[in-house]
Subunit: 499 residues, 2 copies
């Protein structure tokens, strides 16, 4: 040992952009995911846990450079293969479905929950490992699959603790926008590059409605817009009449679903793809209404743009509508916690066949944050009862007490540090958020009693109590040893009731 050369001490930190989750951080998330899984299973979805590592070849999208694959993923060369950590749960679904399509039920309803990894610049609250929770139906082109996903998302939000009225699921359809553009005559679907580029500008302009207002968006659809600081953003270059048609799409929301559909129908009249899109929206709307989901839960909304660029038909977005304060103290809606839509090229890369698919992804961390804000989680996580050690030769007495408490379903632990300093034991109980400490010294042992200390009440009294209050509700009671369980139960109940 003495001969060993002294190596520099390693730093005890995770890599940049990674973090650890402790105690209730983990258990609260687990509980929420369990509730989500319960709903998904009720809808006939089956869980899939694919491997965290895929070949870069199977993940696709990321072409290896000479030295290393593209940004965005964690990838490395392993013998002859480039391997990578999954960056989402959809790419692995594509690989699994292509691999097992002959054995899997068709259509295949699957859900998945677990960590994904992104090799991106970390920032405040932005980590390089985070949870996703997805549900997808693969192999069905029916709008019933989309309607079902929306209904399931609604049930899921209510199940985890978001009240009806505190959320809304908005549905739009990419085909309607394509139809609008076709009618406006500005975008040439036969020139895909130009189409994609200008569609991108149009989508980004629409997405800024909240922030820039109608006039700002109109400028971005036209030549461009100069902001307050004088910076100029180039626009999509639409003529005034053309821009007006796109503006009409954004403002097509009527006060009833029927009116919204009529407005859209009028905008896309004559466009095949546009009329298909409107018909799809109508089908989804009819299906969810037939299942009892009115517009207070699921509504059509032509202003939903997020993801329109990626998806091929219906898109959905779940927004929490209650207000929170942003970093500048202004009230704003909590915003999106889930989104998804239909995409039809899931397994084409592998098999050459187009397979229709539709699905959603829930932002696990955002939803959990919302539940914490609403007080739906994080309220009740009392620590264990701590049995203090007054005499280290009587550890077995203390362990027996712990065993009795656990047998009664009460979390309990014996202090296992150095027992010499009793103050340290109480400090420990405080760190453990213990509701109760048990004390049994030699005197108590001889008398067949234990001291039961109410740490929650004790902390309250220490803050503000008068002498009278101390006397009226003493924070420490003496109990016969034989009544330990009964008295602890009583005290825990009193604590729960006085919360």
């Amino acid at each position: 040992m003495a001969k060993q050369k002294k190596a520099p001490r390693p730093r005890a930190v995770p890599p940049r952009g990674f973090r650890d989750y402790f105690g209730t951080d983990v258990s609260e998330r687990s509980k929420m995911l369990r509730e989500i899984a319960d709903v998904y299973q009720l809808y006939g979805f089956e869980q899939l846990e694919s491997s965290a590592i895929e070949t870069v070849e199977a993940l696709g999208k990321f072409l290896p450079d000479v030295d290393r694959p593209n940004e965005g993923v964690f990838a490395w060369l392993e013998e002859e293969d480039w391997l990578a950590l999954r960056y989402d749960l959809t790419a692995p679904l594509a690989r699994v479905y292509a691999q097992h399509r002959n054995e899997l039920p068709n259509p295949y309803r699957r859900f998945a929950m677990g960590p994904v990894w992104r090799n991106e610049k970390p920032g405040p609250g932005r980590f390089r490992q985070f949870y996703q929770c997805d549900a997808d139906t693969v192999g069905s082109a029916s709008m019933a699959a989309d309607a079902e996903i929306c209904a399931m998302l609604s049930d899921t939000l209510e199940r985890v603790g978001i009240s009806r009225g505190d959320y809304i699921i908005r549905v739009n359809n990419r085909k309607v926008l394509n139809g609008v553009m076709e009618v406006a005559g500005v975008l040439d679907p036969l020139d895909p590059d130009r189409f994609t580029n200008e569609r991108g500008i149009v989508l980004r302009a629409i997405d800024k409605l909240d922030r820039l207002g109608l006039e700002g968006v109109r400028q971005l659809l036209g030549e461009g817009r100069k902001d307050d600081s004088g910076d100029f953003t180039k626009g999509a270059g639409l003529g005034a009449g053309q821009a007006e048609i796109v503006m009409g799409f954004m403002q097509a929301l009527g006060d009833t679903t029927v009116r919204t559909l009529d407005n859209l129908q009028a905008l896309v009249a004559g466009s095949g793809v546009g009329e298909t899109g409107v018909d799809e929206l109508r089908q989804i709307s009819d299906l969810v209404v037939a299942q009892g989901y009115e517009t207070d839960r699921i509504m059509l909304d032509p202003s939903v743009v997020r993801g329109l660029g990626y998806y091929t038909g219906p898109v959905y977005e779940a927004e929490l509508t209650f207000k929170i304060k942003d970093e500048k103290g202004r009230l704003r809606q909590f915003g999106s916690v889930a989104g998804g839509g239909r995409y039809d090229d899931l397994v084409k890369r592998f098999t050459g066949q187009e397979v229709p698919a539709t699905g959603i992804s829930i932002g696990v961390d955002r939803l959990l944050a919302a539940l914490r804000m609403k007080g739906r989680v994080g309220q009740t996580a009392p620590g264990p009862v701590v049995i203090t050690v007054m005499d280290r030769d009587r550890m077995s007495d203390y362990q027996s007490m712990a065993a009795e408490l656990r047998a009664a379903g009460i979390r309990a632990e014996v202090y296992l540090g150095n027992p010499k300093n009793f103050g340290n034991q109480l400090k420990y109980a405080d760190k453990r958020k213990s509701p109760i400490a048990i004390i049994e010294g030699d005197v108590e042992k001889a008398a067949g009693i234990v001291q039961i200390k109410d740490l929650i009440l004790g902390a309250e009294l220490a803050k503000k109590a008068s002498l009278e209050e101390w006397k009226a509700r003493p924070s420490q009671i003496e109990s016969p040893r034989a009544e330990l369980i009964e008295q602890v139960r009583k005290m825990l109940l009193a604590q729960a009731l006085s919360e």
Copy 2:
């Protein structure tokens, strides 16, 4: 689209040594882990989920070569840092504890469950990603911490479904073997290299008792052993008298705990470290007995060797004692499903301080396999009720049925594939392991009824039924639409009862 160059299709397979888990594979493991977590939490342990990726520097043990770090881990160079996937849950615990030791309660009881990754040659049933489930107490040198871990392991096994009598937790102590060696006078603790090398040979020899018998082990402790094929294995080179002392250790198990301790005490008399080891075993035994764990659950056993090389004091191993058939059809014990012990250099690499720690790791896949063999999981996983589609214009009728069934807590789904071929719908229901199919064509709709098809009974009758049986218990009933839920409930109940 037509202009796109045709890239070769990627292979739809995971990397070699990785696999996917479907449906009940995932949910059964989740359920088992949840039950384990419940027990751990009852004992006051808190869950920790550390990041899957660590710096190679923090993981330690693996020194980077010129090109890449050592074998055994998946590692890659990321900007300036070598990063690696965790290969177990103990190395990350060391990093987390060193990083947060001032905020964490001390002692710190933590549990962790999740995948780990090993860059090893895959084999049948051996994967490069698998689950571990650990519980450790950091910061306590007390044998009460070890006793508690053994008691908790016992509770855990019973909680997940291993009956009392089907398992045993064996406890040994590394210090006792060191004492035995000191008394035998063969191994020089002042020459660490020689000590380590010969101790390794002795440990491996003892570990072969089951297979080679006493005489074989004696040979391996001495000059060496020639096996039936004539191959020679070099021995530890102990003299006959010295070997006899080590043999005594292996055979020190008495018919009571007191006798076992007496036997060990006699073997190590005069060795300080040996006597400390015997005293530690006595303390653990007293503590678990005081909590009600008799030798049918937790026993001292000097023949337990696994891990002795790694640990510094007590070691524990949980064995399932029921018999299974091995690949050659011979009956043998199921064997080990968990193990652990005390190790005292957990965070020394980071802080320079020795911190005592003790813990266990459960082999998640092995324990789950044992539960499957005992029929404790995997018995009851009925699929969802499948509502067939007779008329694709009435999807909303079918979705409403599904919604009603779900509201009653019954898993249900509408067939979302192409409904034209009814046979495909029933094949789908079969793949989904559906207990019941619902049929509502135009005729039924007009009459206000539905057909409810018992798919489990149907499959049975198809196999073996006589005409009389068909008539006595028809596998398809007609029910008023309004009584759908009631009739489905009744049928599910009948299926559950006739299992």
